[in-house]
């Protein structure tokens, strides 16, 4: 699973971080770091909860095969 981060939409509510601080990393201002997030297999539930917590809808859950593959490739590197 991959989380697509719409960085410009983030307004620093930090609700994702409140759910899963190890998955959703914030900058010094408290806004999410740019770049999509590849989620490790065991973290999927927590990551989806974090993504769903976003009041701005800045986090999109990508469950397509390509997303799964990218996680797989990453885990092999």
């Amino acid at each position: 699973m991959r989380i697509i981060v719409h960085h410009a939409t983030c307004q620093g509510h930090a609700r994702c971080w409140a759910q899963a601080p190890d998955i959703f990393k914030l900058d010094d201002e408290g806004y999410i770091l740019p770049g999509d997030i590849n989620v490790a297999e065991g973290d999927e539930l927590l990551a989806s909860r974090g993504a769903q917590a976003c009041p701005e809808r800045a986090l999109e859950i990508d469950r397509t095969a390509a997303a799964l593959e990218s996680v797989f490739i990453q885990s092999r590197v």
Partner: protein, 405 residues
């Protein structure tokens, strides 16, 4: 109070007799529930025109659906925040910063101030906040089995933290609460008088910190630079005044509404007391059910919005208390479910102006509830008393006499 004439471009069928200032339950009401009172708008259209929906009697469009409020508040280009609410009380025109700035200036000041209020920064402040809550509640518990939560806990607690930000001691706490009260709820004489006192106080504090810097908020502001230059006097003032206005009333009101709810719902009270791990989630639900602020934007151009002909200069109201009771967004919105999940409520607003103090406010509320429930046994509204609630620009609760004898 007379309402302004409805502008010609507003179709008469879109006008509704509703206002956060004058509708039933909005004026000070014993045992009132202004949040439930406004929820009735969801029986009507998603957007309508309210002929009297600001303190000075101007009409606004009222956006009721959460989804539409998100759209308005995320689009700062179409819906401007520049209103000079505070300055206009003095017949002046300068913005509270960053609240009344639009992008791109807004972003510059937000970036400057964000680190001071970030989630990580708030974690550092937590021990001081908790210590203050414990000291106040211990004193209340030692002195009897009843108190006025607003006067004895909610205000001293939140104002103390605000004063800590400003590097000031507690000795002028009552004066500040008085100013805030006059500013938010006073008449046409008291409001400008309070505004003048606040401006003079902020100007004086800034001058003091320029001369002798200490480790506090105003020192940071007078030493800060934006775009390679120090802040102007007006910018320092606009920033200081916002901290004053935003920090004084809202969190205290939230704590008041929350404890009033728990006083009336002993089962929920017992549950949170015996399982304090639930307080974090419960506080989110209470923020959803009892938010305090109405955001107003000014249209910068003509736009047809969900069937409404919004014209340049029109006011557009996004009331958090209305969004948070939207049945399209929240299942059974008028039921308070302290275990509610997926609670993306609007209490701190949406878009670039998301409440700068939201992380601190959340911690203050959670810590306040945790320490109150840990130290005060089963409490209820004291017999023969009635909390007085009110609507308006900032919803609130005047008194809350609890009894645990």
């Amino acid at each position: 109070m007379a309402s302004n004439p409805v502008p010609d471009h507003v179709p008469p069928e879109m006008v509704r007799d509703f206002s956060l200032f004058t509708s039933a339950g909005m004026l000070p009401t014993p045992n009132g529930d202004p949040h439930a009172a406004v929820a009735c708008v969801h029986a009507g259209p998603p957007i309508f025109y309210s002929p009297y929906n600001t303190r000075n009697g101007r009409g606004t469009w009222v956006i009721t659906r959460t989804r539409d409020q998100r759209r308005v508040l995320q689009d700062a280009e179409t819906f401007s925040s520049h209103r000079s609410i505070f300055a206009s009380v003095l017949g002046e025109n300068w913005p509270m910063i960053p609240l009344e700035l639009d992008p791109p200036a807004h972003g510059i000041f937000r970036s400057l101030l964000n680190p001071l209020f970030s989630p990580k920064r708030v974690m550092v402040l937590e021990p001081v906040v908790r210590e203050r809550a414990i000291a106040l509640i211990d004193r209340i518990a030692a002195s009897g089995t009843s108190c006025d939560v607003m006067k004895d806990f909610a205000f001293p607690f939140t104002v103390n933290i605000f004063l800590g930000f400003l590097g000031l001691s507690d000795d002028r706490l009552d004066i500040f609460v008085g100013w805030a009260n006059d500013l938010l709820h006073g008449d046409d004489v008291k409001r400008p008088a309070a505004a003048r006192m606040i401006v003079a106080f902020i100007d004086e504090l800034a001058a003091m910190r320029r001369k002798e810097p200490v480790a506090d908020f105003m020192t940071f502001v007078v030493q800060a630079e934006v775009e390679g230059r120090p802040l102007t006097d007006e910018e320092v003032r606009g920033t200081g005044v916002l901290l004053f206005v935003a920090g004084l009333d809202t969190v205290a009101a939230a704590i008041g509404f929350d404890l009033a709810y728990l006083a009336r719902n002993p089962k929920d009270q017992d549950l949170l007391r015996s399982e304090p791990d639930r307080i974090g989630l419960a506080a989110e639900e209470l923020l959803r059910a009892y938010p305090t602020v109405q955001m107003i934007r000014v249209a910068t151009k003509n736009i047809d919005f969900e069937g409404a002909p919004i014209r340049k200069g029109d006011y557009v109201s996004c009331a958090t208390m209305i969004a948070n009771r939207d049945p399209a967004e929240f299942k059974c919105p008028n039921t308070i479910d302290l275990a509610r999940e997926d609670n993306r409520h609007a209490a701190f607003g949406y878009g670039p102006h998301r409440c700068l103090g939201s992380h601190l406010a959340r911690r203050e509320i959670v810590i306040g509830l945790e320490e109150w429930l840990a130290r005060i046994p089963g409490f209820r509204i004291k017999e023969g008393t009635a909390p007085i609630t009110y609507g308006g620009h900032v919803f609130g609760i005047e008194n809350l006499i609890l009894d645990w004898s």
